[in-house]
Symmetry: C2
Subunit: 226 residues, 2 copies
Amino acid sequence: MSNVTSRRGRSAEGRAEVRRDLVTAAVDLFTARGYDDTTVDDIAAAAGVGRRTFFRYFKGKEDAVSPDHELGLARIAEVFATAHPTEPLLSVVLRAGETVFDLYLSDPGTARKRFALVHEVPALRDREAAMVHRYRRLFTKELAARLADVEDGDLRAAVTGAAVVAAHNQALRRWLADGGTAGGTEACRAHFRKVAGMLPLEQAPDLEQVARRLERAARSLERRTS
Amino acid sequence: MSNVTSRRGRSAEGRAEVRRDLVTAAVDLFTARGYDDTTVDDIAAAAGVGRRTFFRYFKGKEDAVSPDHELGLARIAEVFATAHPTEPLLSVVLRAGETVFDLYLSDPGTARKRFALVHEVPALRDREAAMVHRYRRLFTKELAARLADVEDGDLRAAVTGAAVVAAHNQALRRWLADGGTAGGTEACRAHFRKVAGMLPLEQAPDLEQVARRLERAARSLERRTS
DNA sequence: TGTTATGTGGCACGGAGTGCCGTTAGAGTG
DNA sequence: CACTCTAACGGCACTCCGTGCCACATAACA
């Protein structure tokens, strides 16, 4: 049975194999000949499938180099959904952010190749920006639902969501720029966690209480000196 | 002289007129018949120009409904470039953010139409996300240059840039959702300015420690006076 | 050994975006 | 007024993306 004929009536493993072949072919061709000079026919031919099959695995040419963002979004939603009600919101946000790291850190090699491509090809940059936008929206939505009773909860949710995603991407870019070694993943995570001190999740210190303590101290002093 | 023939050898005013006609035709057709069911030929025909001319005014079909983001980016860069060195960074950031409001608030009617379209058509949503990404990148770049000597300056810059853009967009969306009345622009600006208290630009003063020091000073004074 | 379900490739089509070129209005010059 | 030059326009042809349709092959199943 030849390789081509074995690809008819494919099983689940066969489908995953075709998808991997298409991603590999796309990344290699984009890197070697450039994104614009690579047609979908080229990718499909390099992967040994028909052009029509490419569009059954990917919504478009740009998606052939994207990691599985749907999975990342689903994991974030799961962290928020399964979090214990008493867990501080800051802790939940950090756990959700760190969950996404695994999608990149699990395969540093292709992550590096994708990073180089995405930062070179405008079409892929815009695609990535759209995906970041979806991550940010998800964080903001989940946070807004939990900050409904806080003053300016919507604004806090929007700012926090954007900040978390920005910190995540910054840590990831820094890790990839440093070579994306498997040993640097913990430093990457630590760098991301520093965002915890920059989020407007907790109320500012209660200045009213501070003022009362000062007033009490002043009154005490007043009594003594009079 | 017919309208069509008068459009040959156009002057600067003629070019601006054609651009306006194309934007109007695009917005109207997208709203009436949907984005996907409107071809570039339809837009060009409705504006009374040839299809080829459309692509001389816009890079692509999606750009026909976009405001002039290049101008907005240029204004932000100008605010940062011309800011006095002694002006607090927070003030510069807020001024830069408010500058962009004018681009939308100057024409509330088309802003509302665009808002409805952008939030309905996936292609336009992604386009907008890419533009937001560019705004965020610009803020982050300018901030990083001014936070080079601060601890975790890169992270602070990334978080602050993302937060400012998010707050800006949130205020804008809120204003548009409320009808986009001309009178609500000041409330929109005020809402945006609330982000000032949520940015990790300055170290937050540890008020708890301040209170303890004051209490200690008071007690010390108390002992002296007794 | 049929039968059905599923994945596949080929074909054709509409639309986006681009390069090229002839045409034409308007501006400048004598 | 006559001429030239410049710049914008329209049309044509082309490549490629993405999709609907259909015939076909394979695997699982009865």
